[in-house]
Symmetry: C2
Subunit: 440 residues, 2 copies
């Protein structure tokens, strides 16, 4: 390299390629900044459809985009696949496991949130969260495997436990999972088995609060509850979980035997606050200033699920993809302006486009300001919005084809159990034993 | 159950739901037979496209069909997901691991073949075969992970080893894998990395024999070799492998350092011959009579890759999907006839529809009797034939969309590394160490 007369480019490190980090990097693509985008995975994930991978409706590749392919045309964006393990805010470097340290002039923390079991490590081992493609494929394998295993068991207590699915958490993810598993059992799998009656599988949705979808207006919560009940989902409201084990849960004093417990009850921010040595806000989040910078560190920004900031209504901004995207774009533009010596821009302002939640076939709820939709209209809106937001024409086309096909046939295209051929030994250690296939 | 005056239905057990077993069961669907179809997996796999899953062109769900969904409408077909571990040919029962014994009146062995390392267990640990979706997803993770890992390494020896891919075996699978990895590196990944030059990755194809695609006429072998070389694949012919380790191979005296060795060199029949106690034919196959029954056991049939039988030309029938399908249909019809008291049918006659092998974009070879095709015409034929043979409208539509998209964009839709976030610790144990990302 020969010495250059031009100033060295500003080094920007972005940790996390979820909605926040990806949109910040996109805004900086093609500028003079030298951007390093670090993520543990090689793909950006469209999380709103993750539950469809978990319940065999879509494939992992339908909702994921390789991060490198997004930025292939932009030489100023370098993608690093690795796990950030800490920040030295004085030396201004980010440590990446097994790779080394990356120096920055400006740092964007977009590390998101992970599943939280509220400190109960043993609950984490006995249930499955839904944050990554790996989680989703694990849920798919476990749910489909439970039916397979129930089919070849004879002990009625064991069969009942295998045919009982518990979802903890009545937010959008819990509602989506419970509705989707109930539809899988009652429609797709109903005719597939000869011994068990798949349609009689129990799906139980627990929440500690008094109603589902607490962030929506109450009439829409009531609608969601009644639609789930029509699908056969049993609701347990005001039922705080007291114990989670390999073979079931206890909630509000009631014991429920289940081989499959899915955990959609809590998230916590990734440990960025601890990295900087700042007192975290609720759920480990980083409180940020009006320009999304971390107080005391004008060169560090935090966006998306990792930050906390009051919204226009005074309540903290919700952990939604749209918040992260808008913040990513805002911070990207702010940094691009700063590089060109522009005055600081106006503070971040969240634009609320509304919220949507899906319950099942022809059943969803939507709230756009004063407009509230439910049923088929909300469901069609949900589909159109998600197809539009999905990244990449191929993914859009494949998801569209798959949805139309599923709607026509009630089928699910991704009903695969991969990577654990023997449910007896790998899926359900404790259930090997009493069997009498001789009776066949 | 009240006693019935009708005779008990004939119990037919089919082991394996590959092309042979699946088509035998299909022929018997809706008859009076009581059919049990046993497979280790929950899905039927369209193996001819498996290499496209391994090289990130397709998703697992695009080429797999849940076995239960194929037979949902037919109450006389029971599907059992489990591993057959043995046969008692006197008591006429099949043992299934962790499930029990299944009695039969007629048994169809369609257990197929698995990858064979010719007895070298240590080679099996150091390389990856391609027989199941799990294999394909492992190859995909390892190949994509090797590029990711090379990008963050600085030791040139280590980078070279990570950027060298060895494929052992010059049959159709080896040719497909080598061509597809070379195209992945030179087209799809070429602009994605900043440190390594993905397009300079080495892909080396070894075969012990003097030419590729030995079952094709020699001009087509020559064409395949020259097309692979144009893609940048290095050929090593007459190069028998002498050693395979975690960090490379030795073939014909030459040492090749490589972090990724793919094994497409040999298959052996699953141990059905040992189960019955019969002296196996070549590669552990079961020799069968003209009606595909096992000599001495008129109630046991063997079809597909597990059997051996001379073809019309005197040579053993090839291990092709079409052979297995034709045999499955034949045995299904024979059994259906026997149940209705019909005379034994005529012997099995293989109808050779020709063979196809694909090398890369616009490059394939085809042989239909005296007609030989190569290049774009063979490639388009290959695509049309495989789309037609693929099972299920959804899979066909999705594969069609994906192929068109890939052709237009040179992209691959399934470039996902799932299930091993840290290549350092899980993919390449031995390569942790020297690194200098500080130089970034």
């Amino acid at each position: 390299m020969q010495p250059s007369l031009r100033p060295a480019p500003v080094r920007i490190v972005i940790i996390g390629a979820g909605f926040g980090g990806l949109y910040a990097a996109r805004r900086l693509a093609g500028t003079t900044a030298d951007v390093t985008l670090i993520d543990r995975e090689n793909h950006h994930l469209f999380q709103p459809l993750l539950y469809q991978v978990a319940t065999a409706a879509l494939s992992s590749s339908d909702i994921a985009t390789p991060i490198r392919s997004v930025f292939a045309r932009f030489p100023n964006i370098r993608v690093v696949m690795g796990e950030a393990t800490g920040i030295d805010a004085v030396a201004r470097t980010v440590a990446v496991r097994d790779t080394g340290d990356f120096p920055y002039d400006i740092l964007v923390l977009a590390t998101g949130a992970s599943t939280s079991w509220f400190g109960h490590d043993e609950w984490a081992k006995a249930s499955i969260g839904l944050k990554s493609l790996e989680d989703a494929e694990t849920i798919r394998r476990r749910v489909l495997g439970a039916f397979e295993w129930a089919e070849s068991r004879r002990d009625p207590v064991e069969v009942d436990r295998l045919m009982t699915f518990v979802v903890v958490g009545g937010g959008p993810t819990g509602v989506e999972l419970a509705g989707s598993i109930a539809e899988l059992a009652r429609s797709t799998l109903a005719r597939d088995f000869r011994h068990i009656k798949a349609a009689e599988a129990r799906v139980i949705l627990c929440d500690a609060g008094p109603r589902l979808l607490a962030s929506f207006p109450e009439p829409l919560s009531r609608y969601a509850a009644s639609r789930l009940q029509r699908l056969g989902v049993e609701l347990r409201l005001n039922a705080a979980v007291e114990q989670v084990t390999d073979d079931g849960i206890t909630a509000a004093g009631e014991r429920i035997d289940s081989a499959t417990v899915l955990w959609a009850a809590g998230v916590a921010a990734q440990p960025a606050a601890a990295w900087i040595g700042i007192k975290p806000g609720p759920h480990g989040t980083l409180p940020v200033a009006a320009d999304l910078s971390v107080p005391g560190y004008p060169e560090i920004f935090a966006i998306g699920d990792v930050m906390t900031r009051p919204g226009p209504d005074g309540k903290p901004l919700p952990g939604l993809a749209t918040v992260a995207k808008q913040q990513g774009r805002y911070v990207g533009a702010l940094i691009a302006g700063r590089i060109r010596g522009r005055q600081p821009s106006s503070p971040f302002r969240y634009r609320d486009w509304g919220s949507l939640a899906i319950i099942g076939r022809s059943a969803a709820v939507a709230e756009f300001g004063r407009i509230r939709l439910k049923g088929t209209s909300a469901w069609l809106t949900w589909g159109a919005v998600h197809l539009t937001l999905l990244m990449g024409m191929r993914n859009r086309a494949v998801v569209y084809v798959t949805w139309i096909w599923s709607w026509l046939t009630w089928g699910r295209g991704a009903r695969l159990i991969i990577g654990s051929r023997y449910p007896a030994t790998t899926l359900f250690r404790e259930t090997v034993g009493a069997n009498a296939a001789q009776e066949h």
